[in-house]
Amino acid sequence: MARTLTVRQLGWMLIAAGLINTALWLDSLDTYLDARWQWRLQAVLPEVAFAPSRQLGLWLGRDAGSTLEDSSQDGPAPPPLRLPLQALPAGEFWPTIAVQKALPGPQSILFAGDSMMQGVAPFVMRELRQAHPDWQMTDLSKQSTGLTARRYFDWPHTIAQAIEAQQLTWVVIFLGPNDPRDMFLPDKRVSFATPQWLENYAARVDEILAHAVQRQVRVIWVGLPAMRDDRLQRGVAVLNPVFHDRAQAFGTDYLAIEPLIGVASLPFQKYQRDATGQSVSVRTEDGTHFTPAGLHKITQALVQHIEKANSP
């Protein structure tokens, strides 16, 4: 111990350092807690408490964490989401939609999504690059992201920016496990899977699709497979119909990987049979992500889907 520092002093010093940094980073912590635990400090602390951290955010050139509102769509109004969503009987899944054809010439593909896409994208890019060395491919996938916690990461905005900057011809989106949770709108908290939540979530999907469709960018939305975690499994039953419905509404593609990885209307299974009839593990231990064998299956499905759209 220091000559002058008692245990009591040490305790108070730690608490003081913790409180000072909490105050200085309050806005960032609020964003973090929202994304991680769905807690909003804004709901319990006065606005003035956030002033230092917001000012600091401005000085450091960071986003001060202002609550983003969904931007209006600039394309034609799509058919609204059909509510209530249809529940699927056991063993069934939302089928693949493959209606788009690629524009002629080299393609420019953006891969967007969460950690699931982080696993898949490198393999798809490698396969496509071997077949088409002149194609451009960009992987922007980022773990822990989704469409619900827009304040933490704004996919509609990021994808719109990428479309403008890179003259994309395809966007492939694979996300969802971070989304089955309540949504914080500027004025209220909307519970997961309620009609209002679905409308808002579908509006964010629409924002991506409308921007892409208006700029003639093809979109493949990869559906979610079964999940080990009960909460996520219930989430898949809510999210896949939204992805499928909106793809149908905008005339974009939906790729169902459930038959390859695990049908979400059935109990989770880590293993699938391969061509020789052997059980092969396709999921990692967390029951969300994929083993190399699982990634291989998704890669093949996605590459085939793109190649088919690219064929005359």
């Binding site: 111990m1 220091a2 000559r3 002058t4 520092l5 245990v7 002093q9 040490l10 305790g11 108070w12 010093m13 730690l14 608490i15 003081a16 350092a17 913790g18 000072i20 940094n21 909490t22 200085l24 980073w25 960032s28 912590l29 973090y32 807690l33 994304a35 991680r36 450091l60 982080q118 490198p122 890019m125 490698r126 690059r129 992987d139 773990q143 822990s144 933490y152 880590k270 293993y271 020789t276 009839g277 052997q278 059980s279 593990s281 231990e285 967390d286 029951g287 190399p292």
Partner: protein
């Protein structure tokens, strides 16, 4: 819950003052430590907590059995089988199944081997080795057997629970018996190494991962030879800063709890040969393998050839310990062969190399082996190494600013490695001489800086996988 998450930091602000306040009541304090260990373990997945409890109770009972029948082989065999069996079941069963299937398929058979759909508890490799140290301690000295609550406390001691360092039972119980725990030890050292570890992990290791390692290892075919080399150097530094940073943080936390952890790193990238490297890198693991596997197998007492076989076995085991993947086997084998090569060179009485040359040679070998450790498969690692020399992209095609930053980081890191101990002594001396408000101000400023330069979100530690 990660040790670098805001939630953990806030809980510490509540926990430590309460823990220290109970210093006059050791039973209550140990109960709090025990509960906090189980709560932290359950924060990953609640099912892990009852598993840990059952495992710890099992180890405790086996310890009692071993102590009562010290000269019988049966208790020892059962203890070893059960403790290692859990590790094998949770971690290696699927690897074994796939490997056996590959062998059978190669022979033209297609048997339906059963599958094990289990989730390995976090840190099970560390936990198992710590449990073995307890069982060996009791087997060697039956009077050292501990009551169940102490065994539970040892096996759920949270600073070492998730990713080591491997804390030996003798060391833990000696501190418990001495009555030293309960109050912070060397508080200024603890604060210094916690902040240093957080900076290593959150600022530097994360930058290396985001800028060089992850993108290049993910899609090596997109990069030229120099970028691939930069990623290899980047990973060499990243894993040191990541695991070293983690070790510093938990060592500091343990000091605040009043416990001293074993040293896990001694500036490994200054090693003069691979033997030297393994006395500096992940020391708690390498010394465990030395004391509990290599020496019981005969060590260097059975002739030169047998010694080299033992070295190879120990190093491959060290690789396999990291996980069920052939990449780790190859990594361990490479290090084993490297150590054997060093032994052969010494036996042949080769000329003594200049220090700078032997250090560089060792570091290059270690960096090369890390490619196998990091890659998804042996094939991917070989492909990456081959791409350095044969690549469709221009060799020199590289992003200049990240490259410059990497060179600066490597230079500063290696330069500071020589002076790390002296630097720590100077900073700690200054902190100890300073008034509490000044220490608090510096601490606040350092935390602020680490958060400002750190990533958004909470990055995972590499060794949490093991």
């Amino acid at each position: 819950m990660s040790f670098v998450s805001p939630e953990f930091a806030w809980l510490c602000l509540l926990f430590f003052p309460l823990y220290w306040a109970l210093a006059a009541h050791p039973r209550a304090q140990r109960a709090l430590l025990l509960l906090s260990g189980y709560a932290l373990y359950a924060s990953w997945d609640w099912i892990f907590a009852p598993l840990l409890l059952a495992y710890s109770l099992g180890i405790g009972v086996l310890g009692v059995w071993l102590a009562r029948q010290p000269h019988q082989r049966l208790p020892w065999c059962v203890a070893l089988t059960l403790s290692m069996g859990c590790l094998a079941y949770f971690k290696y069963a699927e690897f074994l199944r796939i490997s056996l299937l590959a062998v059978f398929n190669g022979l033209g058979f297609h048997p339906a081997l059963p599958v094990w759909d289990v989730v390995a508890p976090v840190g099970i490799s560390f936990l198992t080795f710590q449990a073995i140290t307890y069982l060996v301690m009791v087997a060697r000295q039956p009077s050292s057997v501990r009551p169940l609550p102490q065994v539970l406390l040892f096996l759920c001691f949270w600073p070492t629970l998730f990713a080591g360092p491997i804390l030996r039972a003798e060391r833990f119980f000696a501190q418990l018996d001495a009555g030293t725990p309960g109050r912070p030890r060397e508080a200024m050292v603890a604060l210094y190494i916690i902040v240093l570890g957080a900076a290593q992990k959150l600022v530097f290791a994360t930058w290396l991962a985001d800028t060089w390692v992850d993108p290049v290892f993910k899609s090596p075919e997109q990069y030229g030879g120099l970028s691939l080399l930069a990623a290899m150097v980047g990973y060499t530094l990243q894993i040191m800063l990541d695991f070293g940073g983690y070790t510093l943080i938990v060592t500091g936390l343990a000091l605040l709890l009043g416990f001293e952890l074993p040293v896990n790193f001694r500036q490994p990238y200054l090693a003069r040969n691979l033997q030297d490297f393994w006395t500096r890198w992940h020391v708690s693991l390498s010394s465990f393998i030395r004391d509990y596997i290599y020496i019981p197998m005969g060590g260097n007492r059975l002739g030169f050839a047998r010694t080299q076989a033992n070295v190879l076995f120990g190093m491959v085991l060290s690789g396999v310990w990291h996980g069920p993947n052939w990449t780790f086997v190859v990594w361990g084998l490479l290090h084993g062969l490297g150590v054997v090569a060093v032994n052969l060179y010494k036996r042949a009485q080769g000329p003594v190399m200049p220090t700078w040359f032997s250090q560089t040679l060792t570091l290059l070998f270690v960096a090369l082996a890390w490619v196998f450790f990091r890659a998804e498969s042996v094939q991917a690692a070989c492909s990456m190494l081959y791409s350095v020399v044969s690549n469709e992209h221009a060799f020199w095609q590289v992003k200049p600013w990240p490259m410059l930053m990497l060179l600066i980081l490597v230079t500063v890191f290696l330069s500071l490695s020589h002076h790390a101990c002296a630097l720590q002594t100077r900073v700690v001396t200054w902190l100890q001489a300073s008034p509490a408000w000044a220490v608090g101000a510096v601490l606040s400023l350092c935390i602020f800086g680490v958060v400002a330069l750190g990533p958004s979100g909470v990055p995972g530690f590499i060794y949490y996988r093991f």
